[in-house]
Symmetry: C2
Subunit: 402 residues, 2 copies
């Protein structure tokens, strides 16, 4: 947390810090998040407020070119997460007759807690790059879930990069510069902006609300629970493959919420669907947000207070043979649906140690029985193997291509 109290005079307004009402108060600039380590940053890092997520198709057929890109990306990413330009003096310090090596829109901005997290999709493990025998068994092609209405333009991808930051301009700048460096080797397949986090990944964070108005992520795995993370998030040596040890699997789902319909549901029904009270976020039958969910409390007539089809019941580890995952979702609003409504919802991101035994059974339970399904539709989906963190001198994908 060193530096968290340091004031960066003059950058407050541009750094996404509240300055309305003519505010000129500089605000604390958080310390950059370390890029290297045992695990990639951006997973258990306390969830930043904003996100830009991109999925790429790899267009080059050259393994060497792909590896070189991953090497270049690593250096760029490390610099940008320190609050530096993608290339040293890249925006304005180069030759006037050459295109700047950094696009410049984050020049005056601090790191803003930027993390960049890479993942490898199933498509990378075909016959193009000699990786067919390195595909993790856990990196399955996701099954079709009941109610899925997947848009191919929001689905899949050979590579992904998740950029999270407290200033959206910093996240967008990072994705843009990586995309730019990949010109001719990768093409943007889809991208998603998330304007507000809907998960807490640390006990230091207040629980945010999703666009149903409910607190989301109360029961999430947290950074302060290393045993839980070891059990449910990080790939172990016993799991294999070796190149994934210390990594995890990322599932991204674009969940359109039919907010207009939801908004017509009575408060009681909303709370029964979720299984929590809307105000405090307490589980039904409890008093406080962080009181444990008790699925066995009964109300009048012996009926469970938390309904059989309530979201918290179906998603509870108790209902899923102990399965848990780490969520890192973001609210989105992408214009309109052309039918007079906002196109809004939740960009669901989760990290799990084995998607086959965590996300898949959870989503099968939810998509089959969750009362919430009446109000949502999953219209984008992707699955990525997120390799472990890079050590000094290593680059993204080093363990995979070694």
């Amino acid at each position: 947390m060193a530096g968290a109290g340091v004031v960066a005079a003059g950058v407050g307004a541009a750094a996404g810090v509240a300055t309305a009402g003519g505010g000129t108060d500089p605000a604390p600039t958080p310390a950059p998040v370390a890029f290297r380590g045992e695990h990639q940053a951006g997973i258990t890092t306390p969830a930043q407020d904003r996100m830009h997520f991109v999925a790429f198709d790899v267009t080059t057929r050259s393994r060497a070119e792909l590896v070189a890109l991953l090497r270049d990306w690593t250096a760029m990413a490390e610099r940008m997460t320190r609050g530096e330009e993608a290339f040293p003096d890249g925006a304005v310090g180069g030759i006037a007759d050459a295109a700047p090596k950094d696009t410049g829109e984050a020049l005056d901005l601090p790191a803003a807690g930027l993390t960049l997290t890479i993942g490898f999709g199933p498509g990378l493990f075909d016959d193009r790059f000699g990786l067919a025998d390195r595909r993790p068994e856990a990196l399955i092609d996701l099954p079709r879930f009941p109610g899925d209405d997947l848009d191919p333009r929001r689905t899949g991808g050979d590579l992904c990069v998740q950029a999270c930051a407290d200033d959206p301009q910093v996240a967008v700048h990072a994705i843009r510069n990586l995309a730019r460096a990949g010109f001719g080797k990768v093409a943007v397949r889809w991208s998603q902006l998330g304007f507000g986090r809907t998960s807490s990944t640390s006990t230091t964070q207040a629980t945010p609300r999703n666009l149903f108005g409910f607190k989301d992520g109360t029961n999430n795995l947290k950074a302060e629970d290393p045993a839980g993370l070891a059990d449910h998030v990080w790939v172990s040596a016993a799991d294999g493959p070796q190149w994934m040890v210390g990594g995890t699997y990322l599932v991204a789902r674009r969940i359109r919420m039919h907010i207009e319909t939801w908004d017509r549901a009575p408060l009681r029904e909303q709370e029964q669907i979720i299984g929590r009270t809307k105000g405090t976020g307490a589980p039904l039958g409890q008093q406080q947000e962080f009181d444990p969910v008790d699925l066995h409390v009964k109300g009048a007539g012996g009926v469970p207070l938390i309904a059989q089809d309530a979201h918290v019941r179906l998603a509870a580890a108790e209902s899923l043979r102990g399965a848990k995952l780490l969520r890192r979702g973001y609210n989105f609003t992408d214009g309109t649906d052309g039918l007079g409504h906002l196109d809004a919802g939740l960009f669901f991101l989760c990290f799990n140690r084995d998607t086959r035994t965590a996300f898949v059974p959870m989503q099968q339970a939810l998509s089959s029985r969750d009362a919430m399904m009446e109000y949502i539709v999953h219209n984008g989906s992707a699955h990525f193997a997120v390799p472990p963190g890079v050590q000094d001198g290593e680059h993204w994908g080093q363990s995979l291509f070694a």
Copy 2:
């Protein structure tokens, strides 16, 4: 500025304040922006960091129903700009068997500098509501400009509401609740999220950068220049019509930037296109960002340092018979274009006293001759009459419908 130093414990993380790196530092919560006054808020208000803009089609044919909606919206808007719910105790304080009157996702959030600004489009002045003879002459149907490639799904609208706030969740919540209250009377025609401001509307603000990486809005009219605002922004009694006195005209343009092409242009060319240096933002031939633009400085061989087709030259008041406007633009990134690129750009908003003599000649000059046109395309456009501020007891549109 009263209250600008007040700390709202516990809401920092949810309020869009930088908290990465585990930061738990509460940050200053700016005072709410006054909703009522001579002019609407959200015009000269120091530009907040985030924006959600919506254009509605009016679907009711009843004038009385429309006026009633404007009255309801006014009360909701005033409450929300104070950081309150759209309706008192609207989210969780109502009857359990009724739909909550507020959607709840901003329950724990402060006002975040929220402003809500309404405008009336040309379409409102047809024969549906008896307003045909009240249409201001200045509320023209915008001409087609060279290079326009307008998408009808991003163009026009009978009504608009601009929500600006330092927390995007607060802006989205406001638009959503207004849209909800309008169900059956209005339908969302289009909406646009802006993730980062690209204009300063106050001398207290640092100049932000657009997605070309350049400082934008240096020469903008500022809140601290009432004479300039009177000359260029506010409709006077002499201008008429009476119901618009103290109001202004809003032009919205969705400007897609071909950032991939721009990023391949040499630094010198980028600076010549803009007419400023990229690093400091100083006009070419000057030293500091706020040095006056001098269109007459010549370099080697007597060639003007600021080229004939440079953006700052064409947009300068000196080149436009003194015309100026107040800009309030936002960067956007809306996924992808389906061709391997990010769909990114600038959502241009401006306010002017008479669009016929300010925005239109400026845009004609730019779209005809601006070297920047090679890198942008305007694909959305709308024009609205923004009525004056509401006084105590008044509602939005009161002067129009009186």
